[in-house]
Amino acid sequence: MSESGGSNSAADVAARAAEAYEALGGLAETVEDEWQYVTDLVDAYLPSIRGLVGADPGRALAADVIAAVDEAICEIALITDPHKAIDWLSTFPHLVALALGGDVDRRAGAADGAVGDLDTADLHTTEPDGDSPFRLLRGGR
């Protein structure tokens, strides 16, 4: 069992992260002017967090991985400022993905190798990615 009292399977850890993320979204959406952006973030990232379970939801995770996700959950649970919550709606999924070794950049329905894919290995290199939007948004120049 982890410090938060949950179990150690990938499914349970991802579920805890998703639940915490939904709560963060609830706080963030109180900023009325940003309701649409908050909704877009939650709609995009929540399925991705759940998807971090991977092919084997029952697999046991290493203790440091569980601790990383639970610590990140603790961090966002401390947030009371809805404006800061919006910032963390963008950050939290990437922390969870880094810990679990997955990808939250993939758009729903995107094929493997599509623009938007960025796996964990990419996060530990300083080499530019070949699918960079910086390149793609050059407008063909």
Binding site: A68, H94, L95, L118, P128, P133
Partner: protein, 225 residues
């Protein structure tokens, strides 16, 4: 088209003090050579509720765990220390520090590829014949005579708004009227996906504006957009 120093109003004078704080330079130097994971660490720690380093070491086992090499751990520790110093400046000041770090980082990365006749400058206006100057200066400019570039820098994707996008696109369009190929870009120390979600909802013209999100900051030093 020509570049000009922005007027120093009271806000600019105060902000200049933050920009010149050695902490900003130290953080930018560390982030210049950082991996995306380390930049995520900086974003999280600078924006975190807690400032005890052990918390953040637990959140990032790939940077601080046994599997990380000694070199990576050491570099990540320096980034964490600088980031927590920013966080400890307090809620009001930290946002200005974070912005200054992103600007300094952008300028440093651009300077890596800028030629001797292409100075990288800060807080500059772009003036066009017969066009009233914009109120807000550009955060970073690469002032090449042949191929100038202007950059607006944001801490988060939420900073992407119609005013910023319109100003960038207006500058590009005015430059084009003078047959100048001005490249305009927005640098965001935030996840690409979040930036794209923000841009997807924007009705401001941005099809010729480049996005440089956190994951791709190194492209700034690698070649002209």
């Amino acid at each position: 088209m020509r570049f000009q120093d922005a007027a120093k109003d009271a806000r600019a004078v105060v902000y200049a003090g933050i920009q010149s704080d050695p902490l900003v330079s130290r953080a930018a130097t560390l982030l210049e050579e950082a991996t995306t994971a380390e930049r995520l660490l900086a974003r999280a720690a600078m924006n975190g509720e807690r400032t005890d380093p052990e918390t953040w070491r637990r959140v990032f086992p790939t940077l601080f765990g046994e599997s990380a090499g000694e070199g990576l751990r050491g570099h990540a520790e320096q980034i964490l220390a600088a980031s927590l110093e920013v966080a400890e400046r307090g809620e009001a000041a930290r946002s200005q520090y974070r912005g200054a770090v992103v600007e300094e980082l952008t300028a440093r990365l651009l300077a890596r590829r800028a030629g001797p006749e292409e100075p990288v400058k800060r807080e500059r206006r772009v003036l066009f014949d017969g066009v009233r100057a914009e109120i807000h200066p550009y955060d970073v400019t690469l002032e090449s005579a042949a191929r100038p570039e202007v950059y607006d820098c944001k801490w988060g994707a939420r900073g992407i708004n119609a005013d910023v996008l319109n100003q960038l696109d207006d500058a590009r369009a005015h430059a084009a009227e003078e047959d100048v190929d001005l490249r305009v870009a927005i640098v965001v120390f935030d996840a690409r996906r979040s930036c794209e979600l923000r841009l997807d909802r924007s009705t401001a013209n941005h099809d010729q504006t480049r996005l440089v999100p956190l994951e791709f900051l190194d492209e700034l030093k690698g070649g002209r957009p």
